[in-house]
Point group: C2
DNA sequence: GTCTATAATACGATAGAC
DNA sequence: GTCTATCGTATTATAGAC
């Protein structure tokens, strides 16, 4: 029987974690593999033992969230396009954003859209993103309704990572974001 | 009397325009001076005759919008914090975004926030941005009101450049964006 | 005002030792 | 699994000719 993957020093996981922090903070292009390696006290070549390319690091960072978004969108597509379903989609999406280290990831996606444009994982994220917004709009939705749906998603994103809201705990920010998102997609 | 600056071939202006297009499309880091020069059929060294550094190009791109935002925020700070004033601020801000080649500029700011973070012009833009959102919130506004104000500004940004809204002219998108922004800052 | 040529440096990625 | 050393290429930026 195969036991759980419990390496004593999970270098691959540490690379992913540091890369995510740096990508979120300063963007993908500006973050070099040398910088990632130095933070871990290893060399660039050691990073290349764990990942074939820089883009592969990015891909593994996106994997979990992409799968969750795909599942959520598929579920939503089978539901009627009612306000109640839209509310449930937003609640489930926010739960998805709350899991694990998703906060820096969603900050990265939100603040580095331009540089993600011509990377395969970024392109897939953009499409999943659009598909999610689509199920939040009634059939033949107006331009205003489409915009409100996009903003509802952005509201949840900002609530998940934004730290410049005065005097609010993460829980308060999350609750406020959900309230605004529900109002936008009502 | 000094006449208007009417050079026959305004290379400096062309550099600014091409740089803005490329920055908006693929981000600041990813856009090289070689790429800008090649689009204009000149060399990198020629670009350096017109601008001392790459960052100086960015600075001149931001100048006009920054001045307009400063003026608008200063005006708003002198008004009472009423819903009517908030509406007028949003209308004036949208007018600001409609002038000249501001659409790619605001797209660039919206989609490359991470890479702009440690560039002086980007930092100034971020602060002007925050100041604008601040005058859109009542005194001691709740976390929800602060988020709504930020989203109102983002709504106008998306309306100014977003091209992925089905079946809508730029005018319709602008009108929809203003309607949503007004609702968010009501 | 634009050019050629180049300096100085960093990047992603690979080879091969240990 | 990590290292040293390096390849090939790109970058920003400068010097100096025309």
């Amino acid at each position: 029987m195969v036991v759980a993957d419990e390496r004593r020093t999970d270098t691959r996981g540490q690379i992913r974690q540091v890369a995510l922090e740096l990508f979120a903070e300063q963007g993908y292009e500006k973050t070099s593999l040398r910088e990632i390696a130095e933070r871990l006290g290893i060399t660039k070549a050691a990073v290349y033992y764990h990942f074939k390319t820089k883009e592969e690091i990015l891909r593994t960072l996106f994997d979990e969230l992409l799968a969750g978004m795909e599942e959520l969108t598929a579920w939503a597509a089978e539901q009627p396009r009612t306000a109640e379903v839209r509310g449930e989609v937003l609640r489930r999406y926010q739960a998805l954003l709350g899991g694990g280290a998703t906060a820096p990831l969603i900050r990265f996606v939100q603040e580095s859209q331009a540089s993600l444009k011509d990377l395969a994982p970024g392109e897939e994220m953009k499409q999943r993103f659009a598909a999610l917004a689509r199920v939040l709009v009634p059939e033949d939705g107006s331009a205003e309704e489409q915009l409100r749906a996009r903003l509802a998603v952005i509201a949840l994103h900002l609530g998940a990572f934004s730290d410049d809201v005065a005097d609010a705990t993460p829980e308060q920010r999350g609750a406020a974001a959900l309230a605004v998102a529900l109002d936008l997609a009502r």
